[in-house]
Each structure stands twice: as C-alpha cells, then as structure tokens.
C-alpha cells in the first residue's frame, strides 16, 4: 500500500464523492416526485391512467438504466432535448429510480388494511380525504424500508454517469487507476467513500424505520 499516494488523492476523491452525493440527492428528489405521480396513476380508478402508470414502470424497469442515460444524453439532442452531463445524469437516474419507488409507494398503500379505507368512508370522508388523512399516514411508515432500499440502489447507480464523463467518484477512480497504476490504493479510497454513503444511508433508514414503523 502506497500510503503517501492515498494521502495525496484523498482531497480529490472527497470532492468527487460530494458530486456523487449531489447527484444522489437531486435524483432522489426528482425520483420521489415522479414516483408519487406514477403511484397515483397506478392506483387510479381510470383504466387508461392505470395503464399509463403500469407502462411507465414496465418500460423503465424493463430496460437498463445505462441505456436510459445514453438515450437522454446522446439521443436527446436529436429530438431537441439538450442537457449538460450532470443534469442529464441526474434526470435519467431520477426517472429510472422513480419506476422502482412508485412500486414501493404503491406497495405501502396496498398493505394498509382495507378496513381503514372503509371506516374512513363510512364516516363520510371522500376517497381523496380518506387517502390523505387515514391511509397515507399509515402507508408512509410501511414505505420507509422499501424506499430506503431504492435510495441505496440509487447511490450505487450514480456510478453509471461516469460513462457520460460526469466527474463523480467512479469516474475519478477510473482516471486515477489509469494514471497512477495503483489500482488497489485507488479502489480502497473509493470503496471507503462509497461505503460511508451506502452504509450511512442504510443506518439512517434503519433508525427511521425503527422510530416510525414501530408503533403501527
């Protein structure tokens, strides 16, 4: 192990890891917003909307995230959509994870006992009111863990945007492996940074889940 090398590259890698964090947060926010919408479509009473939601989930889960990124970044300009690599990456990752998160949200809603909706309706609450005040608060607790799994997958998935030259952690690692010929030192530094993010997030989700899902 070349400790001196590690000491020298750590600042650069921390910077790159911060880009990974930014990417993750942006795609997470976009993903959650789109996922909520898609989940609503999938739970709709209108068959056409349900189909649209199911189609979204099926298409985005049925094709590789890498191609979704390439389609947006390289193919986008052909149809008049042009983004910087970072933005293209964040959007493509967000749209991709949204398909998985929509299923987590839907699963949470469907796991709430049917009697809850019935009891709310029998009191005179409308469908939307029952959903908002009775079903969703309970479903939210059931979603923490599956959404957390999605978020962890997203953090690791951000590595894919290295392929469109976003200078995040994996891209930086690849460049330094090529220039220093010290693959294991580079891998060690990169792995530690990823694991701080991944296992830190896992820990956070565990705590959230225990704090909120406990008394349901």
């Amino acid at each position: 192990m070349d400790i001196a090398l590690i000491g020298r590259i750590v600042p650069v890698f921390v910077q790159a890891a911060w880009t990974t964090v930014e990417l993750s947060l942006l795609s997470l926010a976009l993903g959650l917003a789109v996922a909520a919408l898609v989940a609503m479509l999938r739970l709709s009473h209108v068959a056409a909307l349900r189909f649209a939601g199911a189609a979204y989930v099926s298409v985005f889960r049925g094709t590789p995230a890498l191609i979704q990124i390439f389609l947006l970044y390289f193919g986008g300009p052909q149809v008049g959509i042009q983004f910087e690599p970072f933005a293209a990456g964040a959007i493509a990752l967000g749209l991709n994870i949204a398909a998985y998160m929509a299923e987590s949200i839907r699963g949470g809603v469907l796991s709430v006992d049917r009697g809850q909706m019935e009891a709310a309706r029998s009191l005179g609450f409308g469908e939307g009111q029952s959903m908002r005040w009775i079903v969703l608060p309970q479903a939210a607790k059931l979603m923490i863990r599956p959404l957390g799994v999605n978020a962890v997958a997203l953090v690791k998935g951000t590595a894919l945007v290295a392929t469109i030259s976003v200078v995040e952690l994996t891209y930086t690692a690849q460049r330094f492996i090529g220039s220093t010929y010290k693959p294991f030192e580079i891998f060690a530094v990169t792995a530690v940074l990823y694991m701080i993010m991944v296992y830190g997030l896992t820990l956070l989700i565990d705590r959230l889940d225990r704090a909120y899902a406990g008394e349901a």
Partner: protein, 254 residues
C-alpha cells in the same frame, strides 16, 4: 315532521359476487327509533346487506333509502361522491374488526371526522369526544393509542367515533364476533344503552340472547333471502319456518 316514514328502507336489494347471488331481492324497513337484529348462518348475506346500506357494497339491483333520501341513486361520479359522503355522515358504522385508525390516538380517532368534515373547532371536538367516551365508559383513555386498548375497549371507541357524527342510525356489523368472550358484555352494554336512548339501530349479530334482549324485531336471513321476521318473542319462541327452527335448534344445542 313525518315520523311515520321509515328511517331505513331497502327495496328489492340484489347483489352478485361473480356468478354467486348473495342478495336475492331483499325488502325490509326500519322505523324511527326501532332496533332490528339480523341473524342467520355465515354466508347468508346479512353482512352484505348491512354494508350495502352504507354503500360499502354497491347493489346490483334495488334501492336503499335513508330518512327519505335514496342512498344508491344514479348520479355522475362527482355528484355521487358528494352525495354519498353526506349520507354516510348520517350513518354510524361499527365494524367487526373495529377499524380504529392506528396512527391516531383515541381523541383524534373520534374528532377527525367532526373537525375535517363538519368544520368543528378543535376544543369543541375534544369536548365532544370526552362526552362520547364518557358514554362508553372510556373517558380515561382519551389520549391512549388504539394499540394499547383491549378489543372491547377498541370497539367502544369505534362506537364513540361513530356517535360523534351524531348519526341518524347506527349499523353494527358483527360488532362482538372478533372479541374474546369475556369482553363481549362491555360492548353489549353500550349497545343496550344506545337502545334505551331510542337510537335507530340495525345489528347484524350471531348472539341470539342479545338479539332477543335488545331488538324490537328480528330478521332471519339464509342464502341471500329473508326467511322469517317478527318480534323476538314470537320469533324465538314460535318460529314458523322449518329453516328457522333448524337454525335455532343447532344454535341452542351448539
């Protein structure tokens, strides 16, 4: 005021679950202040009938009326939604499995509907909750969460929740069937008290003794039809139909 008009009227109620006809054209009515017990073997359609009064089941044929207003009238989706929410506010429904809202404490369970649907002020709603809880003997549990209550206590809170909307009728769907035997009485006691206050009630139950004690009229259903109905005295002492006799015999022996 037209007090002779029935509070609940069901005409020709029909309901299918797939190919199975679970309600085969039911007619019955409940007068103001009357207490009707509906009994019958499981699968007889008694719960489906009760649930369709609250429109939790949509009838395939027939009409349901509450105090001169048709519950299942044909309207466009949006109008019907508004209509049914209004109608349901006038009916209290008590479920076999309580269906308390586990994320809300007892006070919030009771006040959420008055606050959100009637625009009641929070303090007023809490006072109302206290009054309703007093009625079911659980005033001391006002800040507890449902998970901390026994089954009997949960069901009493569920009754208080329904009463807080000041309904015209109360519908009980096997309110004590999910309870341990020693917890049944406390719920029955609350229902008897309501009866003494002349609340209009429809009680779907499998407890013959309770039905005999509390009901003004007993309806016996089997296979989606009303087989026999009458006052508890004549129904239990002198059933006319063979089907009723065999049901009662089986029940009394078992």
């Amino acid at each position: 005021m037209n007090d002779t008009r029935p509070m609940i009227e069901v005409r020709g109620a029909r309901k299918f679950f797939g190919p199975l006809e679970v309600l085969k054209g039911i007619d019955f009515s409940v007068a103001r202040g009357q207490i009707v017990a509906v009994i019958g073997p499981s699968g007889s359609g008694k719960s489906t009938l009760l649930r369709s009064i609250n429109h939790l089941e949509t009838l395939d044929g027939g009409e349901v009326w509450l105090d001169g207003v048709q519950v299942n009238q044909k309207l466009d989706r949006r109008s019907f939604e508004r209509h049914i929410n209004g109608v349901r506010q006038q009916m209290g429904m008590v479920f076999q499995h309580f269906n308390l809202f586990p994320h809300l404490n007892v006070a919030e369970n009771i006040t959420i509907a008055p606050i959100k649907l009637k625009g009641m002020a929070k303090a007023e709603a809490r006072a109302l909750a206290l009054k309703m809880l007093d009625k079911v003997g659980l005033a001391d549990k006002i800040d507890a969460f449902p998970a901390r209550l026994s089954g009997g206590q949960k069901q009493r809170v569920a009754i208080a929740r329904a009463l807080a909307m000041q309904p015209k009728v109360m519908l009980f769907d096997e309110a004590t069937s999910a309870l341990d035997p020693e917890l049944v009485d406390e719920v029955n006691l609350v229902m008897k008290q309501l009866a003494s206050e002349h609340m209009t009630m429809v009680i779907v139950t499998h407890e013959m003794r309770f039905a005999a004690e509390v009901a003004d009229r007993v309806i016996f259903m089997a296979d989606g039809a009303v087989v026999e109905e009458g006052s508890p005295a004549e129904f239990f002492r002198n059933p006319k139909q063979e089907r009723t006799r065999s049901f009662l015999k089986k029940f009394l022996n078992g």
